[in-house]
Symmetry: C2
Subunit: 340 residues, 2 copies
């Protein structure tokens, strides 16, 4: 049933920041440059752009000369629309031998002249918000290799960041590890993955089984989490992800300053203990040995002193290694993973 499962985007990238009006509007490109510096030949900015991914500014021709394989749209736009002014650039990038990758809501492949040019030139368009191919139904059958999944008390709380930081720390520690992306930004960073929230409901856990298949016994998949099993809008996605992942280990991500769930009015963020219990119950359906091995606090809105105190308090309260990957690094989690 599986055709091309997920994406495989050629690197290196030319990171296109368009006319992003501030750094936040260019966050996709900035994130790709932050986590995959070695996979970026440079950035391309239009007049008025106020975002900077810290890469050399290149023209399309310069980027092609430096071997760019993919023109990566690294800016967000109002409503996820594709700016009509970009079309000549997209066509030229294709002519220069590049694929196009986009995490925008609108599909690049829906622009007839761009789709036609890609077909004629034998290039691919990677619209990573839209799943490619079809997936099997999940089986829940045990598979070899180890998997660690980030979970959290809410959406947009740092699950991708924690997974990327943990993956980098594991590689630096000499462990065999692969980052597995489940959302569009993660897919653009990793160059592969499956946009889980866009998969048809029946196939969520099956898609995750394809995303992180059987592997060497000492290999770790580090899987980007999504939402929460206690989230009234997206819990279906999370439950399919947790069951498909069969995680040996989970790292819980929480923001101590967030009081209400994002986009859900006054609904309070569930507590850490409640969130742990719900995710463990779900994970144990397919992996009875699933456990939570640590906590990752997103303390970006706290002063350094308060943040460190909160991290220490949380570690003591839950008797679990607790970090903020942006402040303290991931060393305590590495130790916990090695113990499995």
């Amino acid at each position: 049933m599986t055709e091309t499962a997920g994406f495989a985007i050629p690197t290196p990238y030319l990171v296109f920041l368009g006319a992003a009006h501030d750094q936040l509007a260019g966050k996709t490109g900035v994130g790709v440059a932050q986590w995959r510096r070695e996979a970026c030949v440079g950035q391309m900015r239009l007049p008025g752009c106020r975002a900077d991914a810290g890469l050399p500014d290149l023209s399309l021709e310069d980027a092609a000369a430096r071997g760019a394989k993919t023109f990566l749209i690294g800016t967000t736009t109002r409503g996820g629309r594709i700016d009509r002014d970009w079309i000549p650039l997209l066509l030229r990038a294709l002519e220069l031998g590049m694929d196009i990758a986009s995490g925008l809501h609108d599909r690049v492949a829906d622009i007839p002249e761009v789709a036609e040019a890609a077909r004629r030139l034998g290039r691919s368009i990677h619209d990573v918000r839209h799943p490619r191919g079809s997936f099997p139904v999940g089986t829940g059958e045990k598979r070899s290799g180890k998997r660690v999944l980030t979970i959290g008390t809410d959406c947009s709380i740092g699950k991708m960041f924690t997974a990327l930081a943990l993956h980098r720390a594991m590689i630096e520690a000499g462990m065999k590890a692969t980052f597995r992306a489940t959302g569009q930004t993660g897919i653009l960073i990793a160059g592969s993955g499956i946009p889980l929230d866009a998969v048809v409901a029946d196939f969520i856990s099956g898609a995750v089984e394809v995303l992180c298949p059987a592997n060497d016994p000492d290999h770790w998949d580090v899987i980007e989490g999504q939402a929460s099993v206690l989230h009234p809008s997206y819990a279906g996605v999370t439950v399919g992800l947790v069951m498909g992942a069969q995680p040996d280990a989970m790292v819980l991500v929480h923001d101590p300053t967030r009081r209400t769930m994002r986009g859900l009015g006054s609904r309070p963020v569930p507590g850490i203990a409640e969130t742990m219990e719900a995710h463990l119950a779900t994970a144990r359906v397919t992996n009875p040995n699933a456990r939570i091995i640590g906590i990752s606090l997103n303390t970006q809105h706290m002063a350094e002193k308060d943040a460190l105190a909160e991290i220490a308090r949380t570690a003591e309260r839950f008797a679990l290694p607790t970090i903020d990957p942006a402040r303290t690094g991931c060393a305590p989690l590495i130790e916990a993973l090695r113990a499995i």
Copy 2:
């Protein structure tokens, strides 16, 4: 974001049984005739058909003369394929003023000449396995009206049957109730609904919120359940359904003779207590007052004496009204619902 949410299929139906080689191959049409007798003008059978929905045998012309509004494909086929021999019949049905409804895997709307004829004649094709329109993201916000949802220990265990029987009993008892279909057979029976397993993951609970919207305080939606929150393949669908439904009441369906989960090798069927606990935890995310008000046993594979003993034992063990809708009727559940 919502366009045409779900299906609305005009009745009465002409139930087409094709050349179904046995009664089971005609089970969709037989089910429609069983639960919506008043919505069927008759059945149409091809030479060699061995299924019988107990309806008058009619030609297309006779059915049209009796006011048939939809030609309903009530037979399953190998691989869910549409038999090429049916195409002249489909075209003639459209010409006679009928819509076409199908729960097969293949889309009738993908047959060019049929799609073209429907367009030309202003008729609709209802491929109920494939969701129509788009759905909003779920909000989890409390809405008025009451909702009862069937849940179960496995797939294909009797959740639709129990919901239909309960709905019928509630109407007979003078309650205000609407059956809400979430799967293709249920949709063909009800003439409306949403095929939940085919909705994109992000919108599962949102689709359910659309399916059973706010209603009068004394009105009950009787919602067809899907799979189980403990099912390794489909739990994402179920969790989205349970959270979107915000059920005030749930009825647990179980088959005492089933030892292993359907299609999952030797994985044992979870117990009733475990299944209750998991569904209650999920339901309480959006409705803290959710409760399980009864148990529906599917005892079709048991002798009458054993079945009645099992029903009595289960009622006592869980201190809950317990029925088999096919043997004992739904009266004890009606009492429990009235008490809410």
